[in-house]
Structures are given as structure tokens and as C-alpha cells.
Symmetry: C2
Subunit: 164 residues, 2 copies
């Protein structure tokens, strides 16, 4: 008969960055929200922050801050009071997703060096410069060619998810 001790798991200093995505959470929420509101706008409806947050699965108050910022920058439209909410006008629906990303995450993703060097350039390249340029260009291209309203029909048809 042997004594088996309880399985302790104490992480001393695990130290892997928990969740290192390409975009910040702020930006992820922003993009999801924008697609959701766009779809509703296509159907002629305004949406309140509560519904948006529920539907895209984001913290309501935090998302409110994000949309406030987009609103201040006239990237999204909003009206206060009863029957108010967020929506996109026709012009805004045609804006590139890139505008949302740069409003929220800044321009680093479009211009930054993969190794984080300030003075990395064609004439003073980091080792990854050439390869990273391709990646950056592809991201930029995608973000510039994806309009806010691009997925409206697909979303209405239930082809895409924005939740979890």
C-alpha cells in the first residue's frame, strides 16, 4: 500500500504572455461591434450598447468606451435618448476597417518593425525586415479592402459568427 500525495500544481513564474493576439482586445471588441452594428444598420435599425455587448460577447461598459471613442472620431454614428443607439450611415458603411483599427490600436500594425526597432528601414533593416514587410502589407491590404459593411449580407444570412 502506497501513499499518493495530492497533485499540487503551483506555478512559480509561468511567464508566457497569456494571450498574445495580433490585435488588442479593445480592437477585437471594436471590430466585432462594428460588424454587428453595420449589419443592423443595413436593416435600418439602431442598436443600443447593451444589445451589442450581449451579441458580440464583450464587457458592456468597456465596449461603451470604445464606441464613444469611435463616435468622437465620427467613425460611427449615435443618438442619445429613447429609441437612440448606434448605427452607420451610408458613408461610414463604406469606410475601411483600417480606420477602426488605427483609431483604436494606432498605426503600429501598419508601419511598425517586427522586432520593435524604431529606426528599422530599407536602408537600416532588421533581420526580419523583408519578410515582415510582406506580412504587414497583407494585413494593411486586408484592413483597407474590408469595408465596415462588407459582411452585412453574410451576417444576416447567418454565415458568420461574432460571438465567443
Amino acid at each position: 500500500m502506497s501513499f499518493i500525495p495530492p497533485a499540487f500544481t503551483f506555478v512559480v513564474n509561468s511567464f508566457t504572455n497569456d494571450y498574445m493576439a495580433i490585435f488588442s482586445k479593445t480592437c477585437e471588441y471594436a471590430m466585432r461591434a462594428v460588424f454587428y452594428v453595420a449589419q443592423k444598420s443595413h436593416e435600418g435599425q439602431k442598436v443600443g450598447i447593451k444589445e451589442i455587448a450581449e451579441q458580440i460577447n464583450s464587457p458592456e461598459a468597456f465596449l461603451a468606451k470604445i464606441l464613444q471613442k469611435l463616435s468622437r472620431e465620427r467613425l460611427i454614428q449615435s443618438v442619445k435618448g429613447p429609441n437612440g443607439g448606434f448605427y452607420f450611415d451610408a458613408v461610414s458603411l463604406n469606410r475601411p476597417l483600417a480606420d477602426i483599427v488605427s483609431a483604436v490600436d494606432g498605426n503600429e500594425i501598419f508601419t511598425g518593425c517586427g522586432l520593435g526597432l524604431t529606426y528599422c528601414s530599407e536602408s537600416n533593416p532588421c533581420p526580419l525586415h523583408e519578410e515582415f514587410k510582406k506580412i504587414r502589407n497583407q494585413i494593411t491590404h486586408m484592413l483597407n479592402n474590408t469595408t465596415i459593411g462588407k459582411f452585412n449580407l453574410g451576417l444576416i444570412k447567418g454565415k458568420f459568427t461574432l460571438n465567443k
Copy 2:
């Protein structure tokens, strides 16, 4: 004569994420350090943390933590004491940069959804799924096909920068 008030600049809630790069700072430092140490290893030398930190322009104590982690995972070699330091053996020099990135930033960048959705997949795609897949694949490809020692000659010749 007119009174010109002092120019106050109080940022209420500027709220753009300061610096949103593809990789975390931890990962940027790790990659720069790895390339620097690799180059020295090619020349048969070990390097101390102080020199590495200086040469790649990173906070010394912080970089020490990063290299400790890589060392624990046997991705980099180290010896303590006089004439000690960090280096790569032949096997390690041939490891893909992807190993460094996933040790430090995890696997999100290789597998994650662009909109941060946990259950995004081929059968349950987010709007950006297809486009993002291409980008992820390209990043993955680059990281898998770049060995740690790949830029040794270029670095020795001064073709690349790892600093600032």
C-alpha cells in the same frame, strides 16, 4: 495688449493603445537577443547578459528573465561563472524562430482568431476568417522557416541592425 493663457494640455482619456505591435515587447526582446547571441555563437563566443542587453537595447534585468525562461526550456544554452554566458549549440542554431515566439508569447499568433473568438473555425467562421488565415499562415511560415542562426553571416557583415 492681450492675455495669452498658458497652454494647458490635459489628456482626459486619450485611449488609443500606446503601442500595439504584432509581438509583445517580451517577444521582440527575445528575438533580437536570440539573433545577437546566435551571431556570437557562430563566431564561437559566449555572451553575457549585460552585453546582449546593451547591443539589442533592452532592459537588462528584464531580458535576463526572458533568457532564463528560454534556458529552462533548453532553447538557449548558458553556463554560469567566469567566462560564462549564453550561446547556441549547433542543434539550437537550427531551431526555428517559431520555437522562441511560442515559448514567450504562446500559440495564439499561430492559431488564434483575428476577432478574438474562441470558437471561430472553418465551420463557424468569423467574418475575417478566410483572410486572416492567409495572414496567420504567412506569419507561421516565416517563423517556421527562419532558423535562429539564419542571419549570422548577414549580422557579421553588418547588413542588419538589432538596435533601437
